[in-house]
Symmetry: C2
Subunit: 222 residues, 2 copies
């Protein structure tokens, strides 16, 4: 399978790229608005993987080329870049490509971070609205600890709640996610259940800020 990490040079994109490359046999395509930056990051990830004796196929591309080649494309970009990223890649998308959105909207005040629920209901819903109608959109990876994800020496041991309206697409992302060691994918139902997942991310930041010894947190449903 071809997995594209669009925005694969940012923190969650980097971690997913390294984990998919290390733990699965799929090809990993790093996407960026700037292809040369994606190529440079892909080389860095290759060196990191090579150190561990992992021979992986990680290549860099501009976002449109990465998405066009992908079976699963993860929109690992900030919420405010979702719509323009989808616009940049939609020419290469079809109903064989699953779009995955991990973005969350937050605001910050003196008390901490808060979920900034958009009018569409969730950031996941914004991605679904931006995508061409025949392209299935799945929400996943909203609450992953970015630094731990990118540290291949660290045990992940977290859950990711997955939402989507297309059962086949949800199955694909669930199976793919569970190939990452220490990541458990749980089904949270249709896309309209995304807001409660996204809201966990600011809470994780607040908990990390207020408790000694807790940082870079994920969540487990137990």
């Amino acid at each position: 399978m071809q997995i594209a990490l669009l925005g694969g040079t940012g923190d969650i994109g980097e971690g997913l790229a390294l984990r998919f490359a290390c733990d699965t046999d799929h090809d990993v395509l790093i996407g960026s608005r700037d292809a040369s930056r994606a190529e440079s990051n892909a080389r860095e990830y290759g060196v990191e993987l090579d150190k561990r004796g992992v021979e992986a196929d990680v290549t860099g591309h501009d976002n449109a080329d990465a998405a066009a080649a992908a079976d699963v494309a993860v929109l690992a970009v900030p919420a405010y870049h979702l719509a323009d990223t989808v616009a940049a890649i939609e020419g290469g998308l079809d109903d064989d490509t699953v779009l995955v959105t991990p973005a969350v909207g937050m605001k910050r005040d003196e008390d901490g971070f808060h979920y900034n629920r958009p009018g569409a209901g969730s950031v996941t819903a914004i991605a679904a609205e931006a995508a061409p109608e025949d392209v299935p959109v799945v929400g996943a990876y909203h609450n992953l600890p970015a630094a731990r994800l990118a540290d291949l020496d660290a045990d992940l041991d977290v859950d990711t709640a997955i939402v989507g309206d297309d059962g086949d697409a949800v199955d694909t992302v669930t199976r793919l996610s569970e190939e990452i060691e220490g990541l458990r994918a749980v089904d949270a139902g249709p896309l309209s259940n995304a807001a409660e997942i996204e809201a966990i991310t600011p809470l994780l930041i607040n908990v990390a800020k207020n408790n000694d010894g807790m940082h870079d947190l994920g969540v487990r449903f137990e």
Copy 2:
């Protein structure tokens, strides 16, 4: 310490009453709008504890008497009974009583359960607004698995995120919570951070509904 479970005849109230009675040396006061129902439940909990060789002081009262005697009073009532429960007990409250609110507002549609965020910002904020100004309010126990909590044979192994604007009250509830075996209390900051905690409860229901083998879920921040 005197711990009152107002609404201690409902599911989360029953579980907290049994766990506090079993795992701590504090006195447990069951409160209800109907004192005789509270007394009857207190006797039942006593029998349950006695079977395990636990000698605990669990007594039944009407909500006002339980709250007046309490150092910590947990408002274990549905969100729509919060305001009238606080009104019924406020004569006996003072700045030595910590009010704890675990209530969450949810709505349900064909897709699942959703967080129903009230205009006040959170249900926790509604409790704080209803309480007399000098009575400290702490949000806690929003995401506990009710059946597992009430089953003293079950390992709890979950977190509870705690919010509050009064540091001493937060410390009291944190220490008290950690006396329950398998319950870890984490500080999530001021009361204004409550909504993201409350929103986890409908998500836990959605995850339980959509995944075989997962039910009566709690959460861990890891």
